[in-house]
């Protein structure tokens, strides 16, 4: 089975082209099923690989590659033909990630059959979705960082296409562009990291690069720079501070897309990249610290920002950013397995929450939670499954989120109690905003009767994926934690620095910590209940009144959006300046100036001509007529022909003598 690993991304790729070009856009087009079939096959291969890896039947890592192209390259002044090879590299983390991506992707595609039913661009939606899945899977399996980068950009463009899917409206195209450009800003770091890797390592192959790092061929400063570049890429793609501004806007896309791309898979790509290149980060304390602090700041800021919005998808978007911060922070403190564990569980429960939110939106046709309320009566399955997802997100035992978050907190405490305190606080915030969302949406009285009356539970094609994800949200944490199955599978991360993970600096009893954090989470849920599980929102609004300044700051997202908009503005002004300089300065100097120079030269030569050359001619005339001629007239006046002949004879003889 493993030898078919290369098919995992290629099957959805083929499907996406088949869907796009295979037939006309019709309501009952069968082509979307091709996408579902392809991803089903990929899932089957991935699960077989995962199972073989877990049971030990398959020795990892597995690598296979093929020549893609070759080019004349040069390293240290020596030209050679560099063979660029593309292929697959399957490690424990890869096997897990493949299964997660395929599974969520399949469920989302099935769910979309219901959610997108009747959309005018139904077929195109499936083509894009398959294309996204293909590039995401390519990113995960590739053994070549350049190919990883290529797929990285392709998931970016799929995200662009899907966020802007309803391009007839004004907001989605804008959000799509914002997402693409913001992530591209981070990608510049990734790009520079790739250049540095090749310049110093002479390869893009992950295994060979790892060997080169292990042998100490790359100086630490270089590794730090590479690490920071990769981190910049991850900041963009995984919506880390300060590049997280694009993710809330990305919610303009269809909700299943938000579930797949902007919650479960693509935004996890940055985390995965850091994990995949962990050997680089592990070799540089600076890079590790940068990862940890980025994650920490992101987790906290996004956690607070999730407290205020009334758009159900924005709450989930901020929550996603915050949880990605948790993962990043875990990786930064040496919690390789913990970070990836949280990535896995989060993929399930956050996809569940988004799909649940999609089910609600599908029923009431609004994202605004103020117009919801009391929906548990109308949509019991959605309510139940979303509650499960929320409990998992809030980290309540024994659901999935508890185990993974617990591992992260433990790792972070070993590194630094301060970071632990911030993350634990964020965990409480998580519990609060999650249940704020649940109570606002499903409990209390209906606030919009019209919408409430028309709300109906979604059909089976949408609820079955919800149920499956709910089951996974319940079981996956416990099952993977059991006997350290997950940690065994992904390993503990290669070559850590002693300081980073070897000996823990601080210790805490895991039981005490788990109890404490869980208790705090329960308190937060209780608070959310008091504030939001009421017939009207007066208590919450009173709080908002009292704390208007902090609310304002949070609603403005700490001004980061404004900052980046200002940056864009500045760039535009600079561009305008360049345009002016080009037309009024460069063109004037070099084109008109050159022309002027030629004109001046021409005028000068004209003047010279007039002044000297022509004057010389005139002068000759003047001399011969007015000077010589006038004096000669003295002779001619007398009219003596003999004298003339005499002068002539003298002149001739003088000439002949002089010769």
């Amino acid at each position: 089975m493993i030898e078919h690993a290369f098919l995992i991304p290629l099957l959805p790729l083929a499907a996406s082209f088949l869907i796009l070009f295979g037939g006309p856009e019709r309501k009952d087009s069968p082509l979307p099923y091709a996408g579902i079939a392809a991803i089903g096959l990929s899932l089957w291969i991935s699960l077989r690989i995962l199972f073989d890896a877990w049971s030990g039947a398959l020795p990892l890592p597995y690598e296979a590659d093929w020549s893609w192209f070759s080019f004349a390259a040069e390293l240290r002044g020596r030209p050679f033909i560099f063979d660029m090879r593309a292929g697959v590299l399957i490690e424990g983390a890869t096997a897990v990630m493949l299964a997660v991506v395929c599974l969520v992707s399949l469920l989302v595609q099935v769910y979309s059959l219901g959610y997108m039913h009747g959309d005018a661009k139904f077929k195109r939606y499936y083509a894009y979705l398959s294309f996204f899945t293909a590039s995401m899977l390519g990113l995960v399996v590739s053994n070549n960082l350049l190919v990883t980068f290529a797929c990285w950009e392709l998931v970016g463009v799929s995200s662009y296409l899907l966020i802007g899917f309803w391009f007839e409206k004004t907001a989605p195209p804008y959000a799509a562009k914002k997402a693409f450009i913001t992530t591209k800003l981070g990608d510049l770091g990734f790009f520079l990291a790739l250049l540095t890797i090749f310049a110093y390592g002479g390869t893009f192959n992950i295994v060979r690069l790892r060997d080169a790092v292990a042998m100490g061929y790359l100086p630490e400063l270089v590794l730090t720079l590479i690490g920071l570049g990769l981190l910049a890429g991850a900041m963009g793609k995984s919506a880390q501070w300060p590049l997280f501004i694009w993710l809330p806007d990305a919610m303009e896309g269809p909700t299943p897309v938000s579930a797949l791309i902007h919650a479960a898979t693509m935004v996890a790509a940055g985390i995965y990249l850091v994990a995949r290149c962990y050997f680089i980060f592990a070799a540089s304390q600076v890079a590790m610290d940068a990862v940890a602090w980025t994650g920490l700041i992101t987790a906290f800021l996004a956690g607070t920002m999730a407290l205020v919005p009334y758009d159900i998808k924005r709450v989930l978007a901020f929550s996603t950013v915050s949880q990605l911060g948790f993962m990043m922070c875990a990786l930064g403190v040496g919690g390789y397995a913990a970070g990836l564990f949280h990535l896995t569980t989060h993929a399930f429960f956050k996809a569940l929450l988004f799909l649940g939110a999609g089910s609600v939106i599908h029923a009431v046709h609004t994202n605004d939670m103020r117009q919801m309320g009391g929906l548990s009566k109308r949509m019991p399955v959605t309510f139940m499954t979303m509650t499960v997802g929320s409990l998992a997100l809030a980290g309540i035992p024994p659901l999935a989120g508890f185990f993974s978050k617990d591992q992260i907190l433990e790792k972070v405490f070993e590194r630094s109690p301060f970071m632990f305190a911030v993350l634990a606080l964020t965990a409480c915030l998580t519990a609060f905003y999650t249940f704020r969302m649940v109570f606002l949406t499903f409990r209390g009285e209906e606030r919009d009767t019209e919408r409430f009356r028309h709300a109906e539970e979604s059909g089976g094609v949408m609820t079955v994926p919800l149920v499956i994800l709910a089951v996974l949200s319940v079981c996956s944490g416990w099952a993977l934690e059991h006997a350290h199955a997950f940690a065994r599978l992904v390993g503990s991360g290669p070559g850590l620095l002693p300081g980073a993970a070897g000996e823990a600096a601080h210790h805490i009893d895991p039981m005490v910590m788990a109890t404490g954090v869980t208790g705090a989470a329960f308190l937060a849920i209780g608070l959310a209940y008091r504030l939001y599980c009421t017939p009207d929102l007066s208590a919450a609004l009173a709080w908002k009144e009292r704390l208007s300044l902090p609310f304002k700051v949070l609603e403005d997202r700490y001004g980061f959006d404004a900052f980046f908009l200002g940056l864009v503005d500045a760039a535009d002004r600079l561009a305008g300046l360049c345009r002016w300089v080009d037309a009024e300065v460069v063109d004037r100097i070099f084109v008109d100036g050159w022309g002027l120079l030629c004109r001046i030269a021409a005028e000068l030569s004209n003047l010279f001509d007039a002044l000297f050359v022509d004057q010389a001619v005139d002068g000759c005339g003047y001399i011969s007529r007015d000077v010589v001629g006038a004096n000669l007239r003295w002779f001619s006046l007398r009219g003596r022909v003999q004298e003339y002949l005499l002068y002539l004879a003298v002149g001739v003889s003088l000439f002949s003598i002089l010769r």
Partner: protein, 490 residues
């Protein structure tokens, strides 16, 4: 001997002469001759591609060589040949000429003269890349100027006369300095020769001062063509005023003559002068990239925007050359080919909308994707290719360009990558403003692309994807020569 290169070069000339003899009123025969005279060289250049020896041993030699004495008293020869550097450009020229000829079929007035000048232009372009004798090279180089002058000046936009004279005089000025440089080399060589292959071997006897002066002479000639900052300002105007097909040729082929010249002449014949100039060249490249992209971002005229994006993309080529490594040379050459295909397509597509809307102002459109989906699809594809999306042609070449420069110019390269971001920004903004959002009702009855437009764009679209996925097809032809070139002065 089949005289393949002579056939490729002079079939368009034969076509031009035949067109001259045809009656002015019969449009169809002129079309047929024009298409045949551009299609045959493409067929033959495909043959050239198939017969081209890509082995490592062939890297140092010229292939398909034709060599005859021409003016013996001055030691001038008729000397043609291609290697991995010029071969891909010959094929590109033949391809883009056919595409542009197809796009030209929409020309309404004075069609006969148009085809005549167009075919003469093709002769000049092909000849520049093939000739290995400076005299011949210069003849072909200048041969491109006159047809271009008429093609812009007669069939262009509102400011055509001004644009044409500006283009003509400006590039001619560059050529004059190049001519002086050629003569300097000619008289320096012993025995006096215009033979470029022979001149590549005499650099050992040239002093640094001589090389610098001669280098600067050549550089002025080439830089105007590239166009390199600050000699680039003729380009946007010429592009805006030129008819669509001529913009395509201008961007796809004419600009390449400058970069080709730097690689073929400046680097191989004057290594010391080249080396001396590198720190300046890399600065110019970075300015081209960043400044060109910023200028493009500020434009509201689509065609001007694409024109400035060309300045940005040719900056990548210069940056790669400044890296002075095998990687850089490969990147630069591949970028030339890809830029030709992508920007050619972009200009064609801009022409499509201009023909219908009679405006190119980005701000007056909106929501066209619902109205002209096929057009929107091709335009987006070309834009994404141009901004370097993986899977499309621009990505690999851009990456190689940066890779080639990075080893030597780390900081410059790090600054230059900002150009990638700006490029993405202005292309996406253009797509958003023109195609996305609610449909602007003013354009409610716009028609989608017609058959002629599709025939000219589809091959380029296919090539963008093909070369993006499988760059081997282009790189295979270049590798051996690039290896040889990089190893020349090691």
């Amino acid at each position: 001997m089949i005289h393949l290169l002579s056939l490729i070069t002079f079939i368009p000339l034969v076509g031009a002469l035949v067109v001259l003899c045809l009656p002015k009123d019969g449009r169809r025969p002129i079309e047929v001759v024009g298409l045949l005279a551009t299609a045959l060289p493409l067929v033959l250049s495909c043959w050239l591609y198939a017969a081209f020896d890509c082995s490592d041993a062939a890297g140092a030699t010229m292939q398909f060589v034709e060599r005859h004495a021409w003016i013996p008293s001055m030691n001038v020869q008729y000397y043609l040949g291609v290697d991995g550097l010029s071969g891909p450009l010959v094929i590109l020229t033949a391809l883009m000429s056919l595409i542009a000829m197809i796009a030209s079929l929409g020309i309404k007035e004075r069609f006969k003269e148009y085809v005549f000048w167009f075919l003469v232009l093709e002769v000049g372009m092909l000849g520049v890349f093939e000739s290995l004798d400076f005299f011949l090279f210069y003849v072909f180089w200048e041969l491109t100027l006159v047809p271009m002058y008429f093609l812009i000046g007669v069939w262009g936009g509102p400011q055509k006369e001004y644009a044409a004279i500006k283009f003509f005089l400006y590039t001619l000025t560059g050529s004059v300095f190049m001519l002086l440089a050629i003569l300097a080399l000619y008289f320096q060589a012993d025995p006096h020769t215009f033979d470029m292959v022979a001149l590549m071997k005499i650099h050992g006897s040239l002093s640094l001062k001589f090389q610098i002066i001669v280098f600067l002479g050549f550089y002025l000639g080439f830089a105007v063509k590239v166009p390199a900052f600050p000699f680039h300002t003729w380009l946007p105007l010429a592009h805006v005023e030129a008819p669509t097909a001529i913009s395509v040729i201008l961007a796809a082929v004419l600009l390449k003559m400058g970069v080709y010249g730097i690689m073929r002449v400046s680097y191989t014949m004057l290594p010391l002068g080249f080396e001396w100039f590198l720190p300046i060249l890399v600065m110019i490249a970075v300015i081209n990239i960043v400044y060109g992209a910023l200028c493009a971002m500020a434009q509201t005229d689509m065609k001007k925007m694409v024109a400035y994006s060309s300045i940005n993309h040719m900056g990548y080529c210069l940056l790669a050359i400044a890296g002075c490594s095998a990687t850089g040379f490969s990147g630069s050459l591949l970028q030339m080919v890809n830029h030709g295909i992508i920007t050619g397509a972009l200009f064609l597509l801009v022409g499509v909308i201009y023909d219908r809307a009679h405006t190119r102002d980005i701000t007056v459109f909106g929501g066209l994707a619902t109205r002209v989906p096929v057009y929107a699809g091709f335009m987006s594809l070309a834009c994404f290719a141009s901004l370097g999306l993986p899977g499309l042609a621009g990505f690999v070449s851009e990456f190689l360009c940066f890779l080639g420069a990075f080893t030597r110019w780390k900081y410059h390269t790090a600054v230059a990558v900002v150009g990638i971001l700006v490029t993405a920004a202005f292309f996406l903004r253009m797509i958003e403003k023109v195609f996305l959002g609610p449909l602007n009702n003013r354009w409610a009855d716009l028609s989608d692309m017609n058959a002629r437009e599709l025939v000219s764009v589809v091959p380029l679209a296919i090539l963008m994807v093909a070369l993006g996925i499988w760059p081997k097809w282009a790189l295979g032809m270049m590798n051996a020569t690039m290896m040889h070139m990089a190893g020349l002065f090691k």
